[in-house]
Each structure stands twice: as structure tokens, then as C-alpha cells.
Amino acid sequence: MSAETKKKTMKLTIPEEELMSPGHLACQGCGATMAMRYMLKGLGQKTIVCIPACCWAVIDGPFPHSSLGIPIFHCAFEAAASTASGVKAGLEMVGDNETTVLAWAGDGGTFDIGLQALSGAAERNDDIIYVCYDNEAYMNTGIQRSSATPYGAWTTTTPVKHFKNRPKKDIVAIMAAHRIPYIATASVAYPEDLVKKAKKAKETRGTKFLHIWAPCPTGWKSRPEDTVKLARMVVQNCIFPLYEIENGETYKMSIKVAEKKPITDYVRLQGRFRHLKEDELKVMQDEVDRKWAALQKKCL
């Protein structure tokens, strides 16, 4: 088949443009790299990204290398949102009203140490996109619990005899309470949906918040080849439903779940949950059911 015919027959569902190069420093099966790749396909090259301390501070590559085709401001851990607000204001003052400003942080930098700056930017409704790629612990420092770590999980600071016994912080509810124009959840197993949400965020003025599910084989003790599988299962079992919120109050489901699956298969693929007993799994399932029911009531 000639290249020309191939081009005619191939029907791509996401943009072809690649703004992330191979040769980066991520682990095998890293969900965070997929998240960045798809996000940039949605946003395009006229984007500036602020990256605080997180896996991506390393993944991009050490000075003088970079695996991204856009400018990067590696910034302080707790300052992704405030740095992005500054970049946006600075660009406008030098006559650039076009470039998209993206803050790109992990769950630690969002749920924990960066929450204050994020809340500040959202309350001011600064025109930035804030993405939290969530791998549910401090993975860059070696798997310590964050407030995004789910109930039941093992981490190096929540050993199996003392696993995390509090539920994951509801960051989306916190952001919705700021009544920002656009919030969405996304998963690396659904690239078309993710790219669509990136584009919508780009076209919306004000603060946008995207919460992207990004499995971490190293920290979850899962197989690298299961990353996409896990990222799909978590949507299908309704642990992490994909939806959008406009102005903090209009909820819309993005991926309809035909048949809600139990969490068991998802949990069994990950070493971080291996120690859990039946009654503890029931606690997890009950929490998922409760949250899913509440979300369905909110959705159109």
C-alpha cells in the first residue's frame, strides 16, 4: 500500500500533531505521559505549560533537554496555579492574547500542597487551564500517600498493617464550589474524550480544571501493559466516572456506563490493594456506590 493510499484510508479520531517526543524519562506504562500527549494534541503548539515538582518535572528530561515542543516553566511545588496566573497576565501585557496557559500538576501538587494557590486562581477566575494528572500518591518521591490516595491503598507511608483508612479527597467537588466555567474528568483510556475536553477548555475563558486519571504501574504494583485496561475499568466500574461541570452546577455525563461493573477485577490487578479483606473491599464498593448514586442525581 502506498503512503498516499494509506493516508486516505486511515481515519484518525484524534489530531496527528505530536508535541511530545520519545526519549522522555517516564517509567514503562506511565499514564501521565499519555495524559500529556493527548492533552497537547487538543491544545496545540501555542501553549505554555507550568510544571511544579511532580513526576513530569523529571519525565520531561534534565537540563538542557526537553521532550515537549512547547515552552515549559518548571516552577515551585505549591505554585503551579499562581505561576500560570502570572504567565497569563505577563503574556497579555506583552500583547499575546492567543497562547494557552496550562498548569500541569500531580495529585500531591493539586490536592495537597498546591490547593491554596489553585483555589486562589479559581476564585479570581484567571484564564488558565489547570490539569491534575492523578496517580493517587506521591509517586515521584517514591509512593507516599497523598490526600488523593484511595481508601485501602498501600503506600510507603501507609504500610499494609496501617493502610489508608480515609477516603480520597473530592477535588472536583471543591473546584465546583468555586463555580468556575469548566470542569471535566478524563481518563487516558478515552483519548477522544480527553482531546475533546482539552479543546473545550481551550475555547472557554476563565479557569478550567481537568482531572485526569493516570495509572502508575510503579506505584500501584500493576503490570505496565495493564495501564489502559485499568484506566478503562475505573470508568466502567464507576470509581472514576467521566463527566463535565459547567459553572459549578450543570453536570453532564461524558461516557455512559451500560452495565456498572464491581470494583473487584480492578482491585485484583493492583498489588497496592492485595492485603485487603472482603469487608474492607465492601467499604470501598459502598463508597463507590454512594458517590455514583449522588453523581447520577446531579447529571442531566
Binding site: Q45, K46, T47, I48, C50, A57, V58, D60, G61, P62, F63, P64, H65, S66, L68, G69, I70, P71, I72, F73, H74, C75, A76, E78, A79, A81, S82, T83, A84, S85, G86, V87, K88, A89, G90, L91, E92, M93, V94, D96, T99, Q116, A117, S119, G120, E123, R124, D126
Partner: protein
Amino acid sequence: MKKVMMGNHALSYGAMLARSQVIAAYPITPQTQVVELLSEMCASKALDAKFIKVESEHSAMAACLGASLAGARTFTATSAQGLALMHELLHWASGGRQPVVMGNINRAMAPGWSIWTDQNDSLSQRDTGWLQFYCASNQEVVDTVIQAFKISERFMIPSMVILDAFALSHTYEVVELPDQDKVDAYLPKFNPPFRLTPKEPHAFNALTSPEHYFELRYKLQKDMEKIPAAIEETGREYEKAFGRYLGQVEEYRCDDAEFVFVTSGTAGYTARVAVDELRKQGIKAGNLRMKVFRPFPFAKVREALAKVPKAAVVDRNCSYGHHGIFYQEIKSALYGEAKAPALFGYITGLGGRDITVDMFREIAQDTLSKPRPSEEIGWIGVKR
């Protein structure tokens, strides 16, 4: 144009005349009037700038750094606890070579809560790689802000313009405001050698291995070493345009002095009154006021003190477990010098206790009565 204004407003006018483009700040007593006036200036378009009303000083500096790397001239102001909260970002600013200019109102650190002046807040930031200018009048504040931008942007190193809480921040003085067109000629538009732009994508502040980090910091210090000469140069240029010279130190009646106070901030002006009184009594006193602390004006200090038999450093700060901070630094600058005074060290005025002419008289008496200094701190005005 002449205008009567408080020290805090002098900072605002300096930032306005310098045509700051992005301001990000958080309120803290005794700095609030700086940002209040700048908010009004931005709202009325007297200043074409964006004011980001952030939720903390940490975010204030982070936003300034974002704006600065996008290519905008940026300004902020803070004090004490706010400056301490910013500490991490101060390293980001100098390490990232971003020429932010910041006003800091010297206020004593808690606990107990204090809103009154001393220098431990700014001097605790000594090793962050910022230029530090200590002011003694509102005129000096306006002039210093404009020159700080000039020097910072030339070397891509940030500057802190420092004034005493209340003694200067809330004290009204006549200020000659420079003409805008002359300031524009003196301080052209900010045009950084590098910036964040999709046209030329770079990764800034990336993970830096031991192979490169050392050289980046070496370059920062090498540039710092060029700044004393640059302050003289830009100061002369400023003097030519506006008739006032900044410089690194101010010598007052030091030429024939047998005894010199070494001071900083508003205490430097109180010292001048004490010098005049002592001279009336036949004591040949002088005052050396430190206007720049970083980079340390080694040459100027050595030159000014070479001909003096005795000097008393008056510190409104303390490095607990050591001594007054200006005293340590001046002592180290004089170490090994063939011509150096016997150096006495005094600490006074912590937490905003007034430093009076009588205190300077007491310091002079103590210094002149002793043949040589001891290691002990001379505490002035402390109740014990």
C-alpha cells in the same frame, strides 16, 4: 513635580514611574498602602498594568515570576511574615535570573506579634541572591525603585527595596517625582534576553545535574561581583538626569572623623543629628550609612573606614548565636586590612523600639571610653 507622600506611597510611585506591567501582591501591615495605591493606579489606568490580587505572598512571588518570564516588568511588596513565606520563591527568582523588584517594609518577626520595625526579616533573606537596598528617606525610595529596575534588568537579578516600618513607611515627606518621559529615557522597556514563547520553546528551571548546576550559580556570583561598579555607573547616570545620586554608601562628615557610626535605614538620619551634636562638643564624629547590603560594598566600606581610628556598627537586628549582622559583615570586610578601625558592635531598637539621638550619644561614649573592642555585644536601650 513635588508631592508630600508617605514612604509606602513612594514605593507605589516608583513602581508606577518604572511602568511596572504586572503587580501581584498580598496585603500585610505595614505594607498595605503600597498595594492600595497601586490598585487605584491600575483601576484608573494611571498605570497600564495588571494587578493580580493573590491569596498569599507565596503566590504573589510565583505570579511575579510567571509574568516576568513571559516578558513583563513586575513589582510586588511585602513585609516580615510575608517575606518569610516567600522565602522559597526568592531563590527561584534569583536562580531563574528574573529581575523582579520588590518593596519590603522592615518589620520584626513574630512571635510575639509585632508590626514595628527591625531588620531581621530582610536580613534573613541575605543568601537568597537578591540585591538589597536600604532607604532612609521617601525621596530615596522613589529613586531607588527606578534604579533597582535598571540594575536588575541589566544583570537579570532581582532587587529588594527596603524601608523601616512606620519610621519611613508611614512618615510623610516631600518627594520630587521625576518626569515620566525622563524616566522612560533612563529606563527603557523591559526586553529580556530570554522569555516564555511558543515561537521559541525552551524548558526553564529544569532538573539540573551536578554537571551544570555549579556553573549556573558561579555565574550568578560573578554577575553579583559586577554590580557594585554598575550601581556607581547607573547612579551617575541617574544623577545626570535627575540631580540625585544613589551610590552604595553615604558618608556624613567622615573626612576628618576620629569616630564613625555605621548605620542603615532611618537610624542613619538620626545618627547624623547625633554627629552634629557630638561635633559641637568637640568630638570629631561621622556617620557611614549603608545603602546597599547585597552585593556587599566591600571597596566603599574599606575606603570609608580606612582613615578612621574607631567605628561603632549599630545594628537593628541580631543573628542569634553570633552578633549584629551588619557588624559581622563589616568586620569580615575589614579582616586583614592594613588600615582598619577598632570596630565596636551594638544592637538596639529591636521590635520597633525607638533609636534616639541619646542612644547614639551613649554608643559614642562607650566606644570612646574603651581602648579596644570586646567580642561582647553592646546592648543599647535594653531593660535588664
